[in-house]
Symmetry: C2
DNA sequence: ACCTGAACACCGTTCAAGT
DNA sequence: ACCTGAACACCGTTCAAGT
């Protein structure tokens, strides 16, 4: 963009104290804005520097490399989640649903980042660890044994991750499966997926409408019923 | 690598019939090899061309761009899954577990690709659609209503996706959580995650060992129990 | 310590030219 | 039709130099 023109004046050299133009936080906020607005690919070091009105290399004094910038963004998402009000509920079930919804919403807030966040969720940082507290609290309240809590939370969070991945990969929050799934299924060679074809046919009558909100709620209800049955509540 | 040297002879121009050096399939196989061996980042168009002994631009006559190459790889993974022997079982539960294990194994076969595969699973192609047939078959056999089958399969596959994402993000198939989780948890400010800290403490006594295989089996058992309970089987 | 400028070693892709 | 060579418009990052 600034391409041909000579660099905007901007004194070089160390700024006086209290005059720093850059900070880890300012960089991450600017990066998050770019990612939210234009996607992860648009967030290049050079572009980031440009929006900060700074030389590309200046960023490297606050973050070691681009991977660190992206990891910092993932951390921001979890930090937002941790700052949201913790879920409460009449029952452990309600509390668990509250935790799950808050988690999903945090991921939904930055769909262009969801992918990266999910990848980093494994390479856990402190912020991520704290994130599971509400889940532990709900299941502790339910009376599960420590090891069962551990496994149950892992399972539930895996589901939320997978669901969020699908949700982030699709633009609209509602979509008609009809033109998509029905159409595609109808083009399959009949021998290849007989059950699928038959089921989709029967569904087709009702009109094949899908809402992510409903899908999530149903998934959670399956999970809650499963926990209760599997761990003897 | 070939950097300074002059291009290896290699006649240019159109090869005679039956003499083509390139094909969509050959390109994808070479690309898959690079991704499996060195990761997705190593698979650049130029690198891919080099291993094929061909000019970078030649690839564009078979695939429109790099995104198409990567999408082709994702398709390969699902194709492998569809060619594996379909699961059978005494009960619908066993059949469902068989389908889930086959699905997970297909994703595990190419960990460096898992990420991309999961992203593309939403932007569904025909190969992906066929992939769900075994799940539909198991739940149809269980006697679920069409709409319930649809929702249950979505939920289960979301779980598998999330699980596989976590599995792909971690190198070893077994890891001690102790030095990782326990250590990290113990460094938290006590007010931040009291339940988590307490539960992990109690777990710490047993030795905090985690196996992905066990985690997956437990997760599946929760879902099977949940499906039975939630959909009244 | 913090910022800059120039340079290095890459990218994906377009376009015109070969056979 | 299929492959090539040169070129364009980018990347992330190193390194030496400024204050």
């Amino acid at each position: 963009m600034v391409k041909g023109g000579k660099a905007v004046a901007g004194r070089s050299g160390r700024p006086r104290v209290g005059e720093e133009r850059l900070s880890r936080d300012a960089i991450l906020q600017a990066a998050l804005r770019i990612v939210d607005d234009e996607g992860l690919d648009a967030m290049t070091m050079r572009r980031l520097a440009a929006t900060l009105g700074v030389n590309p290399m200046s960023i490297y004094h606050h973050l070691p490399n681009k991977a660190a910038v992206v990891a910092g963004l993932a951390e921001l998402v979890f930090a937002e989640l941790n700052n949201s009000t913790p879920p409460t509920g009449e029952s452990w079930q309600e509390e668990l649903l509250g935790a799950a919804n808050a988690y999903r919403n945090a991921l939904r807030a930055h769909p262009n980042l969801a992918f990266q966040v999910l990848a980093d969720a494994a390479a856990v940082s402190d912020v991520v660890v704290v994130t599971v507290e509400p889940f532990y609290r709900a299941l502790d309240r339910a009376g599960l044994a420590p090891r069962d809590i551990f496994e149950a939370v892992n399972t539930l969070i895996d589901f939320i991750h997978g669901f969020s991945l699908g949700e982030a990969s699709v633009r609209a929050e509602t979509f008609e499966l009809a033109p998509d799934l029905v159409d595609r299924v109808s083009k399959l060679k009949p021998g290849q997926a007989p059950t699928l074809i038959r089921i989709v046919d029967e569904l087709g009558a009702d009109g094949l409408h899908y809402e992510f909100d409903d899908g999530f709620a149903i998934g959670l209800s399956v999970f809650v019923a499963g926990i209760a049955a599997r761990f003897g509540l």
